[in-house]
Symmetry: C2
Subunit: 156 residues, 2 copies
């Protein structure tokens, strides 16, 4: 560090803390439900939802890592654990040299389906129904802009 | 499940995804910096910051778990790992029967201080400077309301 950083003002700090604390609170609660209902960690659930929405329920390992902003090694461990439980499988793709796919299994899909009704109920109770429609729109706009910005910024 | 859940509308879905994706993107990036600069995981950093801001740099184990919405067992493992690295210590408190304290060490404080300048720079680049002051205020208001609501809702 060659110069003093520009510290956050109290207002900037409030907003930044909001990002972190709101997520921690919401996901903390949701993960207790997920664990109780279908024995999934938040990481398991994130991977299953991401694959479940992809064409043919599959994504390249590298794209899955990028999408969730995880290091490749973290994703590898995660996928190995999930494969052991039968939630996903690996599909090698030697011909195109662009790396293996991860594919959601029938059991993985069934697990998301089992979790979904209660999950959506809790998301409503804790977040959606707390805000007015206009606030939800504001929020989504802000989030989209930030997400796009991060994606277009160079990663260390 | 006795009845069909009230699924999210596309607008509600956008907002909810915003919560998750924005956090994942921002914290994913930040954690690469933290790992590279001071060898801390996001969980290590969250605990250190929480303790660093508490009176006397200490908090009861149970309050720390509640604040971060972690299960007690997850917090115990986390604290054991951090204690081995000398970032925190445990302080037993047998007289009052309300459980042990976790205390940040000098080394823990030094680690936060070392991480802070670059951390704040990245928070600015990726979040604060992307939004107008009015948006930061809107965002903080929304987050505060959600956080309060979750805290006042019964946990499973």
């Amino acid at each position: 560090m060659t110069q003093q950083p520009k510290w956050l003002t109290p207002e900037e700090q409030d907003a930044w803390r909001g990002v972190i604390r709101m997520y921690e609170k919401l996901v903390g609660r949701l993960s207790r439900h997920l664990q109780q209902d279908v024995n999934l960690s938040p990481a398991d659930f994130a991977v299953l939802v991401d694959l479940g929405e992809a064409p043919d329920g599959r994504k390249r390992h590298v794209d899955l890592s990028k999408c969730l902003e995880w290091e490749k090694s973290r994703m590898s461990h995660q996928i190995s654990r999930m494969a052991k439980r039968g939630l996903v499988t690996r599909q090698e793709c030697p011909e195109d040299g662009r790396g293996a796919f991860v594919v959601i299994t029938e059991e993985g899909m069934a697990t998301i389906r089992a979790a979904a009704p209660r999950h959506v109920e809790v998301v409503r109770e804790l977040f959606v129904d707390v805000l007015a429609p206009e606030e939800l729109r504001q929020f989504a706009r802000i989030a989209d802009r930030v997400i796009e910005h991060v994606e277009s910024s160079p990663s260390p």
